[in-house]
Symmetry: D2
Subunit: 139 residues, 4 copies
Amino acid sequence: MATKEEIINFLKTDFPQAKCIVEKVGEQSSIVKQQIGFEQMRPGGTVAGPVLMAVADYALYVAILGEIGIVSLTVTTNMTINFMRKPISTKAIIGECNLLKVGKTLVVGEVSLYSEGDPKPVAHVVGTYSIPPKKNQLC
Amino acid sequence: MATKEEIINFLKTDFPQAKCIVEKVGEQSSIVKQQIGFEQMRPGGTVAGPVLMAVADYALYVAILGEIGIVSLTVTTNMTINFMRKPISTKAIIGECNLLKVGKTLVVGEVSLYSEGDPKPVAHVVGTYSIPPKKNQLC
Amino acid sequence: MATKEEIINFLKTDFPQAKCIVEKVGEQSSIVKQQIGFEQMRPGGTVAGPVLMAVADYALYVAILGEIGIVSLTVTTNMTINFMRKPISTKAIIGECNLLKVGKTLVVGEVSLYSEGDPKPVAHVVGTYSIPPKKNQLC
Amino acid sequence: MATKEEIINFLKTDFPQAKCIVEKVGEQSSIVKQQIGFEQMRPGGTVAGPVLMAVADYALYVAILGEIGIVSLTVTTNMTINFMRKPISTKAIIGECNLLKVGKTLVVGEVSLYSEGDPKPVAHVVGTYSIPPKKNQLC
């Protein structure tokens, strides 16, 4: 298992492109946050779908690192997103992840996405990550 | 229905954040292309998953505009992506979309994503778009 | 909105093929149960995947009827299932549904599926139902 | 790899509950068929969604057996189905499967489902199967 600090340090080097902030790493769970600016918007004054997917993907990755420790070659194998409400483009997006299954090779988790301050989710994601066999792990 | 030029002009104004290029608009289909740079990469020298989703989302949007004409409030309702092979970060990503159903309110399509020049898909997407009722359409 | 009794009576006539029992109809939620016999099994002494999907579909339908009232032409538009643990073929399958969004035309919900008595879910489903326009509703 | 006859014989013993017929086993592909009777119907004179999922699941299983040989513990890890048109309850359901990726541990495939004789698909499925490590395989 990895602490919030270890995960933040790892991601700073390993995944510098990510714009998300790690807010919390919990028991098979995480909370992450992404600020929204022009680049994250799409027509209609709302947040682009792929940005929501990116936040969900990041939340899953953080929750998995928190659970299995720092394993850099962990990859998403699939993801399903349902868009439910129009996010507000002036609010940050919050992703709350809960892992549903932590297997030896596959991890399944779900992420609820919110416009900060609004209790109704804007989108819901279920995703699967594949964990590489021990011998292929770099960290 | 809208031509490739009408779609390109519309998207230039409507969705300036998109980094994709419209390559082809066909019969219930489209081909789009995105160059990959540092911002589009993720750990492991590969392309970030959300970038693949963004390309797929764009390909779906373009194919739908080609089929139903310029309708700006069309939104994604859900999307499922399966990641199948590691994209090459030095190649552009190509998205080839085929619409499976064009209904009055829902459109379903699939997108195969490729690293340019490689015939084996790196990912596969199925997505649904919701078309707003005529009275709510802006264009 | 419809009560548990109204839903049970409606489904008895409307959907006699279903083998599920309605256990509870709550606030945007439901619990249903299906006994497992030889017909519901698959190789490996476990429950067939399509049976789990059928239980999830039923749980969604019941939760929606509880929320919007008896509307017979409501149909599933898509469903994603993740199989997480091997169900025990000697236990009933329990489906617990929560609706995530109740819109005018689309309802999104999730269902956790359990082998009765085991707190860890065997599968997780997210599904979307389409509600017909008022003028097309039979009930 | 396994032939159509080997697969039919294996499934007769291994999965006697299945009501599907194997029509064709091709290069990373399969065609299967299921007759529809009262038990397979749902309200509205149509085919129940879980029956379509069962046909898709079977088509995937058959295509995988055709590709990797008889491996009995192969299991579905996830499946996404989009329902696109109302199937006709007096026609058989045909499932046409193509594998998109055959990896060492995961296989991804898609299935188009048809009412026999109608060229427009009634539903579309993407699913992932997990192949057990060689040492755990029974056959």
